[in-house]
Amino acid sequence: MHPLDQFDVARLLRADAAAWREFVHTAAPRLRAIVSRALAPAGRAADVADVLQDIFARLCREDFRLLRTFDPQRGRLSAWLAVLTARAAVDHLRKVRAAPASLDAVPEPLVAPASGATALSLPPDLLSPQQELILRLCYQDDLAVAEIAAVLRTQPQTVRAQRHKALERLRAFLADRKFF
């Protein structure tokens, strides 16, 4: 259990300055890691501090309106804050991407796309959601099997088995394309 989960939210709602100081020191390292993991691979590591500030400001704003929506019956404070933080980071990236970029900032393609080339498309039900998630955690996020097992709250051998099945399915589908 994270120390955040032992925090007395009522003290925060009473605008207890000492409680808020302690809360910032306890929560910031965890929330920063969450924001950082979302923003850094997208090349926005410089925005981490801003997003983190925005999250804390939102918790305090308008007489703690957002914090008052926390319901301990529906989950622990650490999980609630993690979801809030993850969504804030994703929203930030969407906002940044939606902002119009100058034409000079758009790189020219080094190689022109071959005419008549058709993109390979996989059927949507080729992999189960969990198999796809395992492959992405493994090959796109570079997590080890033990880490994937911790993320999915399962056993490492289950992750290995699911990954194996997923790769088998991909192989079977692409057998005549000699992709592997």
Partner: protein
């Protein structure tokens, strides 16, 4: 990809990454799990019927997936001292109520306004009365003069 030596990859990770990028992205509600769903997923209390939807959404949203994976792995990051101080200042500035500028209480009693109004009336009434009286005297004098003029007294006496 990090892998154990006992389980060496027998495929090209770059090829798999390229393949994953071609998987179709689901649209609509399935792609946007609710906050409650995500909290439930983090807590491990998500009902089985919602689990597949959340896993599918996480598979399709790399930023959300990485952020929540960091939360599940309980990652923490050292916060630079200046950044921590800025956060603390921001929070305290919003939390601690602003002390209002002390305003000296008015010495005037609550009867001040009615008394001033009464005094004004008390001055106005005699002034009005005196003014009326002077105007009356002047009018009377003018009437008398006019009457004498019309009766020929002034003309007789003057011409």
């Amino acid at each position: 990809m990090k892998d154990e030596p006992m389980n060496p990859p027998d495929h090209d990770p770059a090829a798999i990454r390229a393949l994953l990028d071609t998987l179709p992205r689901p649209q609509g509600e399935r792609a946007i799990p609710t906050a409650d769903d995500l909290v439930g997923w983090l807590e491990g209390t998500l009902p089985v019927d919602r689990l597949a939807a959340v896993e599918a959404a996480l598979a399709q949203q790399p930023e959300l997936r990485r952020a929540l994976a960091a939360a599940r792995l309980a990652h923490e990051e050292n916060v630079p001292a200046a950044e921590l101080a800025a956060l603390e200042n921001l929070v305290i500035a919003q939390v601690v109520p602003v002390v209002p500028f002390p305003v000296a209480p008015s010495r005037a009693s609550r009867w001040a306004m009615p008394l001033a109004a009464a005094a004004a009336v008390a001055l106005l009434v005699p002034a009005w009365s005196i003014g009326s009286s002077i105007a009356e005297q002047k009018r009377t004098a003018e009437d008398r003069l006019l009457r004498e003029f019309l009766n020929g007294g002034v003309m007789k006496g003057g011409l």
